[in-house]
């Protein structure tokens, strides 16, 4: 029940295309859902985050869509660029537990 399932494992997108990464969870007590971006040799860095009372959040080319009834959330990268090539992790957090549960990651490659 504590798992967060992330798909796909890897993704190849043409420059200018839309990259979509999906995550699903079971624990309805999760109340914070961040996405992280990780470049080789670096630690994950917060990209964008959403709370379950909001269905969508947009920051620049990055959008989180949240479907509370389906217990799913997704990251959309519009106009994908080669510089977006990285590994992306979704995560979920339940207030009071101090712990974040991470998905297994998606390796994105954007072709020039």
């Amino acid at each position: 029940q504590q798992q967060v399932k992330q798909s796909p494992q890897s993704l190849i997108v043409q420059k200018g295309g839309i990259s979509i990464i999906n995550c699903a969870y079971e624990n309805t007590a999760f109340d914070y859902f961040p996405w992280y971006q990780q470049f080789p040799g670096k630690g994950p860095a917060l990209l964008i985050a959403i709370r379950p009372d909001v269905s969508e959040k947009k920051e620049g080319r990055f959008t989180i869509s949240f479907n509370k009834s389906a217990k799913q959330f997704s990251l959309h990268i519009m106009d994908s660029q080669p510089g977006d090539s990285a590994t992306y992790f979704c995560a979920a957090y339940q207030s009071g537990t101090y712990k974040y549960i991470f998905g297994t990651g998606t390796r994105l490659k954007v072709l020039a």
């Binding site: 961040p34 992280y36 670096k42 994950p44 917060l46 101090y98 712990k99 991470f102």
Partner: protein, 114 residues
Amino acid sequence: DAGITQSPRHKVTETGTPVTLRCHQTENHRYMYWYRQDPGHGLRLIHYSYGVKDTDKGEVSDGYSVSRSKTEDFLLTLESATSSQTSVYFCAISDQGMSNQPQHFGDGTRLSIL
């Protein structure tokens, strides 16, 4: 970038030897975490701390111990390293305060156990 320093950044050691990894923060955040990152497993929590001398186990704590004697330092110790502990280790901090806050990560320690 959040002030998180992990040391060493790379280490190669032999099976059976003790290893200590250090995480140092300059943000005065209350919460500190140790994760390991392995292909196909994402980030898995080893131990975390919610204050000085207050620590708890994560999902993969066997073979690891931690200590936090002051706010800024969180140490991860492998008492007797095994090859299965070869991994990249990340430290993270957060300051959840009144509402959910994201974690900020260091740049990792790549540990190889031969």
